[in-house]
Amino acid sequence: MTYPRQTSKTWFMTSWPYRIFMLRELSGVFLAGYTILLVLLVANVHDGANAFTDFRNTLRSPALIVFNAVAFLFALLHTVTWFQAMPKVLPLRYGREHRLALALVGVNYLILLALTAVVLVIVLV
């Protein structure tokens, strides 16, 4: 006779690594939320300047500013944890493994900075 292992429904509140894990898992919801705002922005820009101005005013509402601030923090958490997981997913089995893992994470941050700059230049300049 075997018994299913009992886990409490709040197991993730018992320690900080578990809490961060759960926050990371929740990041998906906020990433989907900002993507919905992005698609709505595209729809309103396609509808013309007046629709865009209306949507810009909607984006100024305190609720959406707070949502976007929180979503930004969740996005950063996702970025950092995703980059950290990468050397574990890509098995690089050469000599100085630790250094290679660090280099891989470093390259990720360089690509992040480059793409961030590219997007800002396309949008602003």
Binding site: T7, K9, F12, M22, E25, L26, S27, G28, V29, L31, A32, Y34, T35, I36, L37, L38, V39, L41, V42, A43, V45, H46, A49, F52, T53, R56, L59, R60, L64, I65, F67, N68, A69, A71, F72, A75, L76, H78, T79, W82, F83, V89, N108, I111, L112, L115, T116, V119, L120, I122, V123, L124
Partner: protein, 110 residues
């Protein structure tokens, strides 16, 4: 042995993970702060969103992000004790991601 559909969804998930890790922070700054702060001109956005490459990027971002989110959400729900409902939850999450992707496609390409 029945082949699992998990590798297929995982490959979508990991592609979405990379794309969102690299682009979500700056795009949230643009959509959430620079646009409402009146820093981005309408003409520029119109140029970007009517450009064929721009349309494809918007559609691709939505597709990968929605399936990434669906994957995380259904695993999160299983982790907090809803494992018994894994099948209907998976179906609901992936259908929602599919609906979001179709909506994004209609918006991006019309």
């Amino acid at each position: 042995m029945r082949r699992s559909s998990e590798p297929f969804y995982w490959s979508l998930f990991s592609a979405g993970g990379v794309i969102t890790a690299l682009l979500a922070p700056v795009l949230i700054i643009v959509v959430g702060f620079l646009v409402p702060g009146n820093q981005v001109a309408f003409h520029r956005l119109h140029e970007i969103f009517t450009n064929p490459v721009g349309r494809l990027v918007v559609f691709g971002l939505a597709f990968f992000t929605f399936f990434f989110s669906a994957h995380r959400l259904r695993h999160t729900l299983a982790e907090v004790g809803l494992k018994r409902f894994a099948r209907p939850i998976t179906l609901a999450c992936n259908l929602a991601a599919l609906a979001g992707t179709i909506w994004a496609g209609v918006v991006a390409f019309t």
